[in-house]
Symmetry: C2
Subunit: 134 residues, 2 copies
């Protein structure tokens, strides 16, 4: 069971460190997740987006609403299927993704840079092994 405890504590440590950055942008974790998922794509339907971010579509509606209010994403109606929306990053959203995401990454890299290549490989392998069990 020590393994599980370690996993949880490590994730919590990462999570606390990470959310600090996200919050400074006035974003929540799910909102940040959506921005990152849309980054480097040409947009995505609500359904796809919900699947990738592991939330239900009803929940996603609210998250996208709030991102739209902030001007970071917009809903586009494709003429060939007017039932659905394509969610796309606005230029402002792109800017957030491109400037903030790397700075987030940068923050993390500052920490992870202390690992040797061998350590990185070991840790990655360990986590994969553990994940296979669930």
């Amino acid at each position: 069971m020590a393994v599980v405890r370690e996993l949880v504590r490590t994730y919590q440590a990462f999570s606390a460190y990470s959310e600090e950055n996200i919050r400074e942008l006035g974003l929540t974790a799910p909102q940040f997740d959506v921005i990152c998922t849309l980054g480097n794509t040409s947009g995505m339907m609500m359904g796809q987006l919900a699947e990738k971010t592991l939330v239900t579509k009803g929940t996603l509606t609210g998250i996208v609403d709030r991102l739209e209010q902030k001007g970071l994403v917009r809903r586009e109606v494709p003429p060939e299927n007017r039932r659905c929306f394509i969610i796309v990053l606005t230029p402002e959203g792109e800017r957030v993704f491109e400037s903030v995401f790397p700075s987030h990454i940068h923050h993390l890299k500052e920490r992870l840079g202390h690992l040797t290549d061998a350590e990185t490989q070991q840790i990655t392998a360990a986590l994969k092994r553990l994940r296979e069990l669930f």
Copy 2:
């Protein structure tokens, strides 16, 4: 960055697996966390409990309220300091901790049992190393 992705995905896998069990009891993750923290103790002040479960005291008030409604914990006022409460598991709460917690553990062990001792050690060490960085 692959390391972080692995960590997140592994935790999500664990979390999905774990929350399934918790939900079946009509509990939420924070509530379960409180029960586990109180288990095998003689009780704890709100402040301590908040610190251990990583939520603010205002938030904890609501969580403890709901557990009290379910009859799983109670607030005891120590005569020597009437400002504070000692939160204690009720017999019903003990029962949940003792019967449900092990069954939760049991579910996890089913999975973790597939690890050799060496693997367990490796993974634990890897997670510790990673956590140190945050």
